[in-house]
Symmetry: C2
Subunit: 398 residues, 2 copies
Amino acid sequence: MGKVIIIGAGGVATVAAHKVAKNADVFSEIMIASRTKSKCDAIVKAIGNPAIKTAQVDADNVDELTALFDAFKPDLVMNLALPYQDLTIMEACLKSGVSYLDTANYEPRDVAHFEYSWQWAFKERFEQAGLTAILGCGFDPGVTSIYTAYAAKHHFKEIQYLDIVDCNAGNHHKAFATNFNPEINIREITQKGQYWEDGKWVETEPLEIHKTLTYPNVGPRESYLLHHEEIESLVKNYPTIRRARFWMTFGEEYLTHLRVIQNIGMAGIEPINYEGHQIVPLQFLKAVLPNPQDLGANYDGETSIGCRIRGIGKDGKEHTYYVYNNCSHQAAYEETGMQGVSYTTGVPATIGARLFMLGLWKRPGVWNVEEFDPDPFMDELNKQGLPWHELHDCDLEL
Amino acid sequence: MGKVIIIGAGGVATVAAHKVAKNADVFSEIMIASRTKSKCDAIVKAIGNPAIKTAQVDADNVDELTALFDAFKPDLVMNLALPYQDLTIMEACLKSGVSYLDTANYEPRDVAHFEYSWQWAFKERFEQAGLTAILGCGFDPGVTSIYTAYAAKHHFKEIQYLDIVDCNAGNHHKAFATNFNPEINIREITQKGQYWEDGKWVETEPLEIHKTLTYPNVGPRESYLLHHEEIESLVKNYPTIRRARFWMTFGEEYLTHLRVIQNIGMAGIEPINYEGHQIVPLQFLKAVLPNPQDLGANYDGETSIGCRIRGIGKDGKEHTYYVYNNCSHQAAYEETGMQGVSYTTGVPATIGARLFMLGLWKRPGVWNVEEFDPDPFMDELNKQGLPWHELHDCDLEL
């Protein structure tokens, strides 16, 4: 049992708050804090549990965070705010003696650059403070890393080829909308791609490499190779991996919109002077686009995310393995008021927090999720709404 | 001979200033005034004639305009600012006793709505003041209306079918840019279309009607039916016209960009609240897009704009007639530093002002250009850089 504070009041935080509230056996007290307190209050109202506390906090401000943590005295901070704020929240956790969990790696505001080094640099300080930091505990990163750890523990002596495949086959019936924070989404996709092969990173032009992959219960979808942060820690923790790649599906219309958004300069992250105000085009675009949290009501279809693995099995022979989850946008919306993309991130964060509270995932230092025992997490996935399926010796298409 | 003031410092104003300076036989003194005086000074520097005066003025502000006119005492105001400002400038002209010329009809900022009624309402006041107002003296409206008047005067007893065809076959080698003020351009194109047939307006969905037309020295180009303001006055002044339409060419990529700009909400003209500031998405987009005035240096290809007319000739038989101009972007740039779209608007404005100064186009009231004698204007077009060509009894494709 322990006290938890959720930072953030977006789609993922909303899902996590619903789920944390349902795990009352391990969470003794819950607080939701964000820049806008009224959003936190709205989540509490939707959950219908007035015992959940709320607070206003600027997650960019270490002093404000520290003051809040010192007052509420949580055992764990679930950082479900923006990836820009990972470092300030980790800093405040160290100052206040609180453990930490997040779902996406730190990214500086002024340059779209995804790597773990900034957060891994906190390792010794968390160790010395006797505090746990669990990094990347969403779906991808998160469940995909745990799938890999599970495959390594039970099915493979050597994982050699890993392809993480992320398909959103949902339809929100809008001309254009992003499924999560459009600023973060567009920064991610307009980046150069990269993958790991033979001990080094291979860089690609943005969306340069793509192929048609077939997803369970969905069918064929064009899938694009992106850089994704979990590859960075997985190839470190599983050095037998010869090649690790991340694929995400995009529709043609989505990519056309994205191309135009770049062509017209609205994906820019450098501020421009507009009538005396410094305005970042991408942030202004975010304000004009539909709010991803409002997509849920008309969202149908499902997501399908998993790991396709090839390597040497426990029997010394080559095997393939595909482990995945399909999540229905409608079911997610009915349970939490949010669509599947928020749901698949918020539920794993809750499971990570649960395992921390149970002492199963508690160890001083800074850890990626594959460094903990995957078994209790895999059990919880089936119980908490993200059941998984596995195929052995199947055609991986890759 | 007379004194002229040019309001505006964009591409069209720059071209007009160059051309007015070359018509020193009729313009005794020249002033350029705009919101940003440094832009006016830059134009004077480019022309290299330090006798041209400059001034700062807010064209939305009648009092500021009146004070400027009272001080400089121009005979004619050439309004080459935004169409939003037509009414304030006309009002100031009446107060100061100055004649008026513009190139585009008034349009309210808050609703994209193009019609002459607002400006025609000034007719009696200009008549009573003994002042001339010349409306729509650019290329289209402007030269296209004069082409029609010329056809009616010399070739047709009855014009029955009029198709104005506007092709920009230039290439600015940018992923996306508009050829004139993007705000005005996008407002125009995203409007519903309309044309005149059998005594009434027929409305179409935006860009609903299109067909391939062949342009001289250019070839076939997909052409889209738009509403354009000159149709409104031409069907009034030539009541024998059974059908009058306006066509403009767009490339597929341009239309894709336009569709996305609308889908993502960036064509919106309603302000949104962004961090406490009221910002109109389309105006912000304008600030992010390339400035049309900067396109000239790499612009190649040409424009081709004309009138395709069918009706009963002076001989009582059915005839067709096609009168047009082709304008090279490079030649326009070399002469004035601006591309062809600015050039084809700024030159006719200068010719209108010249004819006013010569007393040939001077008559109390508010007039569309086809209500004046087209012959001296047609002569000047050949002399001032926009030579025209005509085809008789040709295939109009329409």
